[in-house]
């Protein structure tokens, strides 16, 4: 094969891959762009003029910042809970023997593959039948969020844990570390990056969720719910400001983590 063709073959896939990545980022750039938009009317969704007002007056739109706070609170709570429960499950599934492993795998997988509308409906059905239809709100949303984050946490931590040489834990026990000490001094530090990634993912999923939240929110309003409502009423450009901020903060956290581990490795 000629050198030209080989170069093309080698780099074609990479080029396509990069193009797909650019495609994935395009809406993000649009969001950033639109955060500077000065919309001509409430219903226009095109770039009409440049302004910094949106950034100066972030909490302008009625109830937006309240919904943001709600989303952040639920996100934090759900992340901590799901990460805790999911990490425990991951350890059980990778390092311990128990009957019903197949069932466990299945039941961890199913929530990920279930359409949100179905999951939301079934939770709503539960709450209605339990007689709590009147108090849908913060805690029902919390329950729902922990539910769908749980599976993703299990999968992420499990992946990291499975890559961990079990001999390391055996070596620890051989060197007089009991089960707790083995976990705390060997397993946990080595699995931590996975747990962190799981937490990050969990927060994103929770913050972002609309369909399930919408069905189970009662009177509570989360940020995605606010955006949905705004899409009917008229979209305030500050939504894009929030979107941009979320993106930058998350990227910041990831890059900081990356740099931190690079320095530690040196």
């Amino acid at each position: 094969m000629s050198r030209g063709r080989r170069w093309l073959g080698d780099h074609l896939i990479l080029a396509i891959g990069l193009l797909v990545l650019v495609y994935m980022f395009t809406p993000v750039f649009v969001v950033m762009l639109m955060s500077f938009n000065d919309p001509a009317s409430r219903n226009s969704y095109s770039f009409d003029g440049f302004t910094l007002d949106n950034w100066r007056n972030i909490c302008g739109p009625f109830q937006m910042c309240e919904s943001l706070t709600t989303s952040l609170q639920i996100g934090l709570l759900a992340t901590v809970s799901a990460t805790l429960l999911g990490t425990l499950m991951a350890f059980a599934m990778v390092r311990h023997r128990f009957r019903g492993r197949s069932a466990a795998n299945l039941f961890v997988f199913l929530p990920m593959a279930t359409p949100e509308i179905v999951m939301g409906s079934s939770l709503l059905a539960l709450f209605v039948n339990a007689g709590v239809a009147g108090i849908l709100g913060f805690w029902t949303i919390f329950i729902a969020h922990v539910l769908f984050c749980l599976s993703f946490v299990v999968v992420t931590v499990k992946a990291r844990l499975a890559g961990l040489d079990p001999r390391l834990e055996e070596a620890a026990m051989d060197l007089y570390a009991d089960l707790w000490q083995t976990f705390w001094r060997v397993s946990f530090p080595l699995v931590f990056p996975g747990i962190l990634a799981a937490a990050l993912l969990s927060f994103s999923l929770s913050f972002d969720d609309f369909i399930i939240t919408n069905l189970n929110a009662g009177q509570e309003v989360t940020f995605p719910m606010f955006v949905w409502g705004a899409a009917q009423r008229g979209i305030p450009p500050q939504i894009n400001v929030i979107g941009t901020i979320m993106f930058l903060v998350a990227m910041g956290v990831v890059l900081a983590g990356e740099l931190g581990s690079r320095r530690r490795r040196a």
Partner: protein, 301 residues
């Protein structure tokens, strides 16, 4: 050891390392308990109550309460009434899945084999758009596909679209939105599978006279199957139940089954909504069941 490299590529995972299986005893059950309890209470039980709700008398409401009459005709009625939406949902989801495979496979392949030291960065790049709120991103498609914007203008100039043609409020927009949203769910499991393929296998193929594409077809593709199937399940199924893309980017003729279920719940017609949900869930369970039959459950999580 960075967080970036740990984002959920483990959707397709290796079976546990030690053949002995791990420690015996209560510890395993205890660790499993809280999470399992949560799943049981808020996933399994609700599914049961959903099925129960689907059998209620459809003439009830939140105010008057629901009578459990075992009214299985709910299923027949709902499927008959909403068949167009069901079929449309499956069609859109299928199209979106295919698009995801076409776009996602090269990307996953590039990250697994061609990325070198940029691998972690590229993985982060796959997840990063996630961090911008999902609805906000979908709204930005309204801009990208808008009548007055670049894309439509170009297509009109090229006569791909008629002078009055638009991209928004069409099935095309809905499918575009769907495939965009679920792309990471296709890329990551695929990447996980491809990552495990030993590049020396491909070299061996070349050594045995296989042309590059043949090597791909006969070696890489079959080995990436678990990832492909997992990605397909994680894309097709949720896409079939989505309604956001249809609502924001479509028109009344593109309504999907998700839209209908949502509206039915909003209107208080719980039995019908539940019946539709259960039907959708049953279709999924069937698909997953066939997959598990062939491949077992170890590769799922």
């Amino acid at each position: 050891m960075s967080a970036a490299g740990n984002l959920p590529v483990g959707l397709v995972d290796a079976p546990t390392a030690r053949s002995q299986g791990g420690r015996r005893g209560l510890a395993g059950y205890l660790l499993l308990l809280p999470g399992a309890l949560w799943l049981l209470l808020f996933f399994v039980v609700p599914t049961v109550t959903l099925v129960a709700t689907s059998l209620y008398d459809p003439s009830g409401s939140l105010q008057t309460g629901y009578a459990m009459t075992g009214h299985w005709q709910n299923y027949v009625d709902s499927i008959r009434d909403y068949l167009p939406q069901i079929v449309r949902s499956l069609l859109y989801a299928l199209t979106a899945t295919v698009v995801c495979i076409i776009l996602g496979y090269p990307l996953a392949y590039a990250i697994a084999f061609k990325a070198g030291r940029w691998k972690n960065l590229m993985l982060v790049a796959v997840i990063a758009p996630f961090f911008t709120s999902f609805l906000v991103r979908t709204l930005s498609w309204q801009y990208l596909l808008g009548d007055n914007e670049v894309l439509v203008s170009v297509l009109r100039a090229l006569h791909v679209l008629g002078p009055d043609g638009h991209l928004l409020a069409t099935p095309f927009a809905v499918v575009t939105g769907l495939s965009y949203n679920f792309l990471p769910f296709m890329v990551l499991p695929l990447y996980a599978s491809l990552e495990k393929v030993d590049p020396r296998l491909i070299e061996a193929g070349a050594d045995l006279y296989a042309a590059p594409f043949t090597a791909f077809r006969k070696i890489t593709l079959p080995l990436s199957m678990p990832g492909l199937v997992a990605g397909t399940l994680l894309t097709f199924i949720p896409a079939a139940g989505d309604y956001i893309n249809s609502e924001l980017l479509g028109n009344p003729q593109t309504r999907m089954i998700g839209n209908e279920i949502q509206d039915l719940f909003g209107a208080g017609d719980y039995p019908t909504a539940a019946a539709l949900s259960v039907s959708l869930m049953a279709a999924i369970v069937l698909l997953v069941f066939f997959y598990v039959r062939r491949a077992g459950t170890e590769e799922l999580v």
